[in-house]
C-alpha cells in the first residue's frame, strides 16, 4: 500500500516537467488560438475587439488566402510526386549490393539535415537569372533561363526545385527501410515462377511497399503545407504573392501586420486541415494498404 503511494508520487514527479511544458506550450496554444480567432487584436493593446466569426468570414473572401492555399497544395502535390518517384527508383537501385552504395546514400541524404537558411542562400544564388549556375546548365541543353524568383510564373517552381532537392534523401532512406522489410522468400518464389524484374516490381515490391509509400505521402504533404524557411528567405512570398505559402502568410499576418486574430484563425484552419489528413490516413491505411 505505501509502496503504491510512493510509486504514484514518483511517477507524477518524473512526468511533471514534460507535461507542464506540453500543457503550457502545446495544448494551451490550441485553446488560446481558438479564443483569439474570434477577436481583432494587435498583440499589444489591452483590449481585444470581439468579431464573432468575422475572421473566418474574412478568410473566405480574402483572395490572398485562396492563392496561398492553392500555392501550398501545388507545392505539396508537385514535390511529393516528383520526390517519391525519384526516391523509390533510388531506393530500389541502392537496395542491391553495388559498389559505392553507402557513399551514394550519404551524399543523397546529406541535404536532409542541412540548415534551411543556408540552403535558401545558395539556391537563391544558383537561380539568379544573370550569373546563376542553373542558367549555364539550361543553356547547355539549349534552353533560356527564366527569371525564376522574380517572375510570377516561375517563383513557385523555383521553390519546388529546392524542396525536392532537400527532401529526396529522407524519402529514399524510408523507402530503403521499407524494402528491407519485404521477406526474401517472396522474391525467391517469384523467381521460381519465372517473373520478370518488371513484373516483380509492380506485382510484388510496389504493393508490399504501399504502407511505406502511404506514410511518405502523408508526412510529405503535411511538411509541404508547413513550409516556411526556404520561401521566407528566397522570395518572401513574392512577387505579388505568387510564391506565398500558408505558414508564411500566417507569419506575415501575425508578426508583420500584427493581425493576431486573423492569424489565429489561419492557424486553427491549418490545425484542422492537418488533423483531417492524419485521421484520414489512419482510416484509409487500413483499407488501401496491403500489410
Amino acid at each position: 500500500m505505501r509502496r503504491t503511494r510512493r510509486d504514484a508520487l514518483t511517477f507524477v514527479a518524473f512526468v511533471a516537467p514534460n507535461f507542464l511544458l506540453l500543457a503550457v506550450f502545446t495544448f494551451w496554444p490550441v485553446l488560446y488560438s481558438l479564443y483569439l480567432s474570434f477577436f481583432k487584436w494587435n498583440m499589444i493593446a489591452k483590449r481585444k475587439t470581439f468579431l464573432g466569426l468575422g475572421n473566418y468570414q474574412t478568410m473566405f473572401t480574402d483572395p490572398v488566402f485562396w492563392q496561398v492555399v492553392r500555392n501550398s497544395f501545388a507545392l505539396a502535390g508537385a514535390t511529393v510526386l516528383v520526390t517519391l518517384a525519384i526516391a523509390l527508383l533510388l531506393a530500389v537501385v541502392l537496395n542491391r549490393r553495388i559498389p559505392g552504395r553507402s557513399l551514394y546514400r550519404a551524399v543523397i541524404f546529406s541535404p536532409t539535415f542541412t540548415t534551411s537558411v543556408a540552403v535558401a542562400m545558395v539556391w537563391g544564388w544558383i537561380l539568379e537569372p544573370n550569373y546563376g549556375l542553373l542558367r549555364v546548365i539550361l543553356n547547355w541543353v539549349g534552353l533560356a533561363s527564366p527569371n525564376w524568383l522574380s517572375d510570377v510564373h516561375w517563383s513557385l517552381p523555383g521553390i519546388m526545385i529546392v524542396v525536392i532537392w532537400s527532401g529526396l534523401g529522407y524519402a529514399m532512406v524510408i523507402f530503403l527501410a521499407g524494402l528491407q522489410g519485404i521477406p526474401v522468400e517472396l522474391y525467391d518464389a517469384a523467381r521460381v515462377d519465372g517473373a520478370s524484374a518488371w513484373q516483380t516490381f509492380w506485382k510484388l515490391t510496389f504493393p508490399l511497399l504501399s504502407p511505406t509509400t502511404f506514410f511518405l505521402v502523408v508526412t510529405s504533404v503535411i511538411s509541404a503545407l508547413k513550409a516556411f524557411d526556404v520561401v521566407s528567405i528566397m522570395t518572401d512570398g513574392g512577387p505579388m504573392n505568387s510564391s506565398n505559402v500558408y505558414v508564411l502568410y500566417l507569419y506575415q499576418n501575425a508578426f508583420q501586420w500584427f493581425k493576431a486574430g486573423y492569424a489565429s484563425a489561419l492557424a486553427l484552419v491549418l490545425f484542422v486541415l492537418i488533423m483531417a489528413i492524419t485521421l484520414a490516413q489512419m482510416r484509409l491505411s487500413k483499407r488501401w494498404v496491403h500489410y
Partner: protein, 289 residues
Amino acid sequence: MRDDRHSREPGRGTTLSKALTALLTHLFLVTVCVAIGLPFFWMVTTSIKSPTEVQVFPPVWWPETPRFQNFVDAWESAPFGRFYVNSIIVTCSGVVLEILIAALSAYAFARIRFRFREVLFIVMLAAMMIPGQIALIPNYVTLKHLGWINQYAGLVIPHVSSVFAAFLLRQAILSMPADLFDAAHMDGLGHLRCMLRIALPLARPVVATLALYLFIAKWNDYLWPLIVTNTQNMRTLPVGLSMVQKAEYNIGPEHLMAASLFVLVPVLVVFFTAQKQLIEGIAAGALKG
C-alpha cells in the same frame, strides 16, 4: 544493410547485358549525386571568388586565386562571433534539457506503476498531432507575460518538451530486462538512481542518436528564434545570416556564401562523422512511429 538478393540470378542475362545494367545504374546514381552535391560545391567555390569573378557569365567554376579574405569580410559584416555563442548556448542547453526531460518521462512510463499511466501516455502522444505553427502566437504572448522575449529562456524552454524522444527512450527501457531493475530496487536504489545509473547508460546508443538529431534540429531552427529575438545580439546563426542577406549592406554573393558556410560547417561535421547512425536512426524511428 541487407545482402544482395535480387541480383544473384543465375542464368538470367548475359555478362554483357549485366555490365550494361551496372553502367546505367551507376550513371543514374552519379547524375543524382552530382545534382545533390552541386549546390554544396557552388557554395564553396563562390565563397572564395573575387567580386569580379562573381559577376561574369558563363560563371567561373574555380577562382584563379582563392580569396580567403571573403571569410574575414563576411565575419566582420555582422557580429557572427556573438551569433555563434548564442547558437551554441541555445542548442546545447536545449539538447541536454530535452533529453533529461524525455528520459524522466520515458523511465516513468516504462518502469513505474501508476493507475493513469496508459491514459497519460495517450495524452502525451496526442501532443505529436498538434502542429507547432498553431503555437506561434500563443507562445509569443505567454513569453511576453513571463518576460522571456529576447531571452535565452524564451528561445530554449518552449521547445524542450518531448514526445518523440520520450517515446523512443521508453521503447529502449522496455527492452531492458526487468530483473535488472528489481535487483537494483532490492539493493535500495531509488527510481532516480535506477534511471541515471542503469537505464540511461544501457540506452546510450539511443541517447547518442537522439542527441545528434536534436542538436541538428535545434541548430537549424529558424522560425522560432526569428520571432522571439528582436535585437542583433540575441540572434542565433540562421536568423543572423538571414538578416545579413535582407539588410542592404554592401555584401556580395561571395560573402553570403562564406557566411552560409559559418552556419553549415558544424552541421556538416556532425553529419559526416555520424551519418550511418543518423540515417539508420531516421529509418528506425519512422518505422516505429
